[in-house]
Each structure stands twice: as C-alpha cells, then as structure tokens.
Assembly symmetry: none
Homo-oligomer: 234 residues x 2
DNA sequence: ACAACTATGTTTAGTTA
DNA sequence: ATAACTAAACATAGTTG
C-alpha cells in the first residue's frame, strides 16, 4: 500500500561488487576502512555472544596494522603459539566427547609415517650429544657467510656483512628454524604431549612476543591474494 | 501492490538479538559456527578487495581453535610480533607522507640498544667455544651461496636431542632469526636502499611463505569478555 | 552436529556534504 | 580523509528436516 507514488530514488543504493582487487585507490581505502571496522565489530560480537576468544590482525597495503583481541592480543597469541589449551568452560566441554579427536585410521597413518621418518633420520649421521649446550651457543652469537664457523672465536659482527650476505643468512636461518620447528612438533606428538590433530609446527618466536592488545599504525606491507579458510564444528 | 493477500509466514524471520552472552548452549554453538564462518568470509573478502593481509584466530569456549591467515598465519604473526614492516605497495604509499616513519631519535635509540645487546652477547661467546661440534646439529642442507653455512657441512640427527633440548634450540634459533631480520631491515635503511618511510622489497623470510593457511581444532579455553578495538586511517 | 529455508536485521557501495 | 545517507545486498535467528 501507499506505493502509488513512484518517488524518485535519491541514490541507487548499495551495488553488488565482484570480490576482486579494487583498482580505484580511493574506493579501496574507503572500503578498507568500512570493512575493517565491520570485521572488528563482528569479532567483538562473536566474543560476547559466544564467549569466544578472538584475535584479528589486519595490515593495510600502506603497511599499517590494526588489531583486535579478546581478552587480549597477547593472550590469544600466547595460546595459539604455545599450543597450550586455554581453560575450557565446563558447560561446553561437558558433552564434548572428543573435541579434537582424530580418526584412528588417520592417526595411525600419520603415526607410522612419523616413525618411518624418524628411522630415516636416525640412519643419517650420528654424534652430538652435548647438544644441550646449543642453546647458549645459538643465543650467544650471530654469525655470517664465512668459512669460519659462526660460533668460533668472536662472534661475527653483523656489521661486517653486506646486505646480501645478511639476506642470504636470513633466508637460510628461516629454513632451519622451520625444520627444527617441524621436528619439535613431531616430537611432541610422538611424545603424547600433543594431540595428533594439533596445529602445525609452531614458531617458538611467538611465545616471546608481548605486544599491546591493540594497536594501529606502523608501516610496510605487500599484498597478495587468495586466502583460504575453513572450520566447522565447535 | 499485491499485498491484498495476507499470506501466512513460514518463519518469523531473523529476529534482533541483544549482544550479550547467549545462555542457551545449543544456540550458542550454532551462532558460533555461523558467525565464525561469517568473519572468515569477511576477512577473506577484505584481503582480496583491499590487498590487505589479515589473520583471524578464534577459540571456541570448548577450546578449539580456528584460524584464517593471508598470506599465511605464520607470516602475519611474524610481521606482527617482530614489528618488521611488511613491504608497502607503491600505489598506497605514494601520497603517504610518513605512514610508518619512526622518529629519528627513537630509531637511534633502538639501534644503540641493539648494538649494546650485541656487545653483551660477544662477551658470552667465550664460554661456549667447545660447542664447535654443534656444527652438525642441524639436519638438512640449506642451499645458498658459494659459502657454506655452519649447518651445511654434515647433517645431524635431531633425534639425538630430547624434546626440551630441541625446544630450547628452537627458541634460540628464532631469537637469532629475529635479530638478523631486524639487522637486515636496518641495513637497508642505513644503506639508502630504503628510507625510513619507504620500505624495501619483502624481507627474504616472508617471501618464503605465501600460502593461505587454515586450521581447525585443538582443545581448551576459558571465556571472559570486554575486548576492545580501534583503528582509523589507512 | 549440519543443511535448508525464509523473513528480517545488518552491512555497505555509491553518493553527497 | 571522515561522516551521513539511502537502497540494495548480504548475513543470520529461528525454525524445520
């Protein structure tokens, strides 16, 4: 009713857009602001409604960071990075048969594979038992791309290396870290410390960070596309 | 028009709800699933539309984690935790006077502090000379420049180490990596390759991980409320 | 637990101030 | 950049299999 008058529309209203990189800089920025705010709001609502603990980190293409965290960024990252299971709410775990249960078949498969890999590694080389001292070694020095071994004599001052050398070192270091992280994860699973279905290798680094719960604005960034997500079942 | 018939409604449709803890367990779980999916979708859209890099971590009250990360969880957390500024997109920094500019004084402060820390570390080196054997500690070989890195010579069985040792090693490794990464960034700034405002091509580390990543499910948690967020200006 | 299904409630693209 | 305003697009609460 009361539709007799065809009143002129003031705007054409929201228009559907394709989900692909916005080419117009201005609309990209505006959209970024609006949607970022939208996500933060949703995150806050989720955390209130469902008692969930949520963290959101966003880097703009200009390199600024924005984040939301409940109960705090720090807490969430600690939980995530350490793989420590945060205290469960009794209500929700009461009927929870196996929140994280992995099918036995799958578990066995992974387990056997892990064992096999383990055997292979054992065949490779030997020695090194005083490795416990490694910690000190690694923490003590930062060396470089030199014939000399990095831990010998005095540490190599990073200043002595040129940018390329440092870059190369950095790449290699990251690679090693990943390997060790993977091994660590594996051990914890074999150990029983970790659930077979648990998260992939966790960079220890994150456990070391203690940043404020919410920040905005420092710089740098580079954008790629094609994120993925998933998750059903609480 | 055509509203003469008061056709019976099949459902009463969506109803407004107050944003407060849902008491009903079932609806809480359902809402959690739906809204979590919603946030992940929004995050993915934001990252595609605006070229933003986004990470979302959600802990259910049952203690399961769900996450979304673009280009990867690891990358975002690395950026966030290390404070390393990800590479900026030229378009977006063009008119950006100093999105991320760090006051010279502050920069100097950080730099001096890093140097001092380095000095301290040098002093510690002496007590770990015997660790030379450590060169065989890390397993695989990491390809690289003509020079060989310390871990390249022979691989070592990580199995020789127990979990705690590996963990220590991992933490220490990460620490070193961070220092090198920081130094790398610093060098490029000092270098002129990069002025404090404009940023260099991606730090090598991050170039290694550009996979969207997603996980779900391990356990534990505890819910409190009162998150905060913020952020305006790109 | 999950999948449809609507009928709303909510977000937001485009526009203007 | 930020804010307001619409109208359309989208998300989702409640309900039913």
């Amino acid at each position: 009713m009361v539709l007799l008058k065809n009143l002129p529309k003031k705007t054409q209203g929201r228009k559907r857009i394709e989900i692909k990189k916005l080419e117009n800089l201005n609309s990209k920025q505006v959209t970024f602001s609006k949607r970022r705010a939208g996500i933060f709001k949703k995150a806050a609502e989720l955390s209130v409604l469902c008692g969930a603990d949520v963290a959101v980190i966003v880097f703009s293409t200009a390199g600024k960071v924005f984040c939301y965290g409940h109960p705090s960024m720090d807490t969430i990252l600690d939980w995530y990075c350490s793989g420590v299971t945060p205290p469960a709410v009794s209500d929700d775990t009461a009927g929870d048969q196996s929140p994280n249960r992995v099918p036995v078949a799958e578990f066995n498969k992974d387990y056997m594979e892990a064992i096999r890999e383990l055997e292979e590694q054992k065949k490779r080389v030997v020695e090194v038992k005083e490795a416990a001292k490694m910690k000190k070694v690694v923490m003590g020095v930062v060396g470089g791309c030199d014939e000399r071994f990095w831990w010998e004599d005095e540490s190599v001052d990073l200043d002595a290396l040129d940018v390329q050398e440092v870059e190369h070192y950095l790449i290699a270091l990251e690679d090693v870290r990943k390997k060790v992280a993977a091994r660590f994860h594996e051990m914890k699973i074999l150990n029983g410390t970790l659930n077979p279905g648990a998260l992939p290798p966790i960079p220890a680094v994150h456990r070391l960070c203690h940043l404020p719960m919410m920040t905005n604005g420092f710089s740098g960034h580079g954008g790629q596309f094609g994120g993925g997500y998933h998750g059903f079942g609480i």
